[in-house]
Symmetry: C2
Subunit: 342 residues, 2 copies
């Protein structure tokens, strides 16, 4: 059925001829054709219009050639569906006019009916699957409950998410109620995505690393674990928590099919912390794509040698940056395709 199932085979831990490759945020601002669409349509219009989401999702498959597609969308469509207003301000990023700061605010947050509120995502998945015509698998994703809470409470991006953490540490009951509502919504949302046709799902805990090893299980991991438990028998789940090297050991025994690793954890360390038996995904420093293509190639080959070619998905350690030259992104993907076991 799938013409290229390398990615799914790596998630199952099978022996492969070379590891699969994709890039977080591969459908995005480093592509000139994406920039043209960006001039015409604002951010959430692109997310909400299945034709546009499909076009953007498929664009890197045609132009860069990774082994998996990831649906163009945003983690913040989930809080939007939950009755939390989210805007995307040019030059600022996510911006919430009415951030959550009290138990009363949490009360107003709903666990929505998914088809009614996020049906457009399911439409985009079906359209993308048709467009991909079984060329490569399609990944669906969601933010972790903690990362969604970070935005919902802070109201915008932040270097330390101090307001989000203050909310959790001074009003833990309200915080846990909010986290559970996000978790319940996310489980229903991802199950709908599975029904719509995605081949794997990834949970992005972009701000997990703001929490200490002591607070991480309480405010983030236990909710991700609920999501994994609910999904793992239906579809492969990838958990990626930026800055959470300290949680890799727990993540490895969670039932997830693969664990994402950021660029601050060396491949050997990641293998050691996760016990050596689970598929890992990562972890090229996104700013290392500024290096000349020949150097990118060498570094990718070293990275594959360090992770080992099996139980491994080549990726960046975080999203690709907007000003990376297309040829450098290509050099990254092609280096993986050219890889030969030493």
């Amino acid at each position: 059925m799938l013409k290229n199932d390398l990615f799914l085979r790596a998630l199952r831990g099978e022996t492969v001829e070379r590891p699969p490759v994709w890039m977080m945020r591969q459908a995005g601002r480093y592509l000139p054709d994406f920039m043209k669409l960006r001039e015409q349509y604002d951010f959430f219009t692109r997310c909400r219009t299945p034709e546009l989401a499909t076009e953007i999702t498929v664009m890197p498959i045609r132009q860069i050639g990774p082994d998996a597609a990831i649906l163009f969308s945003d983690i913040l469509v989930v809080p939007q569906a939950m009755n939390i207003e989210v805007e995307m301000k040019p030059g600022v990023g996510p911006w919430l006019p009415q951030p959550i700061r009290s138990a009363a605010d949490v009360e107003k947050v709903i666990v929505p009916e998914i088809q009614q509120t996020l049906g457009y995502v399911m439409e985009a998945i079906k359209m993308t699957k048709r467009e991909l015509d079984n060329e490569v698998p399609l990944i669906g994703f969601a933010g972790s409950p903690w990362t969604i809470l970070c935005y919902a409470v802070q109201g915008q991006g932040s270097k330390n998410f101090d307001k989000a953490k203050r909310f959790c540490f001074t009003q833990p009951q309200a915080a846990h109620l909010l986290l559970q509502k996000i978790t319940d919504t996310t489980i229903a949302y991802l199950k709908e995505k599975v029904r719509a046709g995605v081949d794997a799902v990834q949970i992005f805990d972009s701000w997990g690393g703001m929490l200490s090893p002591e607070d991480y299980p309480t405010f983030s991991w236990q909710y991700i674990q609920q999501i994994i438990d609910a999904l793992k028998d239906e579809i492969p789940v990838i958990a990626f928590a930026k800055g959470c090297w300290y949680a890799l050991e727990d993540m490895a025994i969670s039932g997830a099919s693969a664990i994402g690793v950021d660029w601050t954890c060396a491949p050997e360390t990641a293998r050691k912390l996760t016990g050596g038996n689970i598929t890992l995904q990562g972890n090229f420093d996104p700013t290392r794509l500024y290096s000349p293509p020949a150097e990118i190639r060498n570094r990718v080959h070293q990275m594959i040698d360090a992770f080992g070619k099996d139980r491994y998905v080549v990726n960046l350690g975080h999203g690709i940056l907007p000003d990376i030259p297309v040829e450098n992104a290509l050099a990254f993907v092609n280096a993986v395709k050219e890889y030969k076991t030493p």
Copy 2:
């Protein structure tokens, strides 16, 4: 001589009745009296006027009672002395009108004569030492060369310092020339501080954690090691690199008297990574000071139990945040003073 030498004894690894405590950024915006001075004098005026720097440095000693003072100043006075213009923009933070982007820019950077350019810091040290009257030791500090480069090239704070890293990865020769100039200046600067009377120095590598474990030794650690080598026979050196848990093993054998640890590395892990024989400093999550005072107290006691009372300096895992209630900062310091070995 010193009435309270607990801090210096901990740096020497001696057995102590309880660990010493101080807080990064303890002289700062959470103190109402600091805010009054802030309304009257702009940031660099406060740094450059020895009377003001002294008053601000001594303020937390009188009001909060830590076991060490740290001179009020900023890591960016060093690039200023090197002919790099640095402003402090309200609401933005550090801002450089002409960031360094080329080898030609690096050429214009000077290694300055210290007394001529930074004599005001030495005046502030002498004045503070008189004012402290040997009550507690005084810490002097500098930014790491990498962290200074981050600001000098990026031109302002950043969530990923992409421009700084691009500069290093595409123009490594120019980057290393700049790093060496900053290193030479920093060594001369810290030696002058020692002559002026500080009792210990701390190197802040605030943005070390932006680099991968592979790039860290090249672009950051080798320069910090030069500084430690040049200073360690004259004075105790503390190295603090935020986000650099992966470098703790190397840091432990560097000749530094103590290693700072941020809040994302558990005490037991930090002890394990550093071999158990070096003094560690840290690592209370700064946002955990939002917790109620009784909870702060319990968590501080647990932290001391986990690090062990000897070869340990209680501190935060990063600077104190501006909106922490004074009573919570007091609860933190007092919890250490009340500590009894279990």
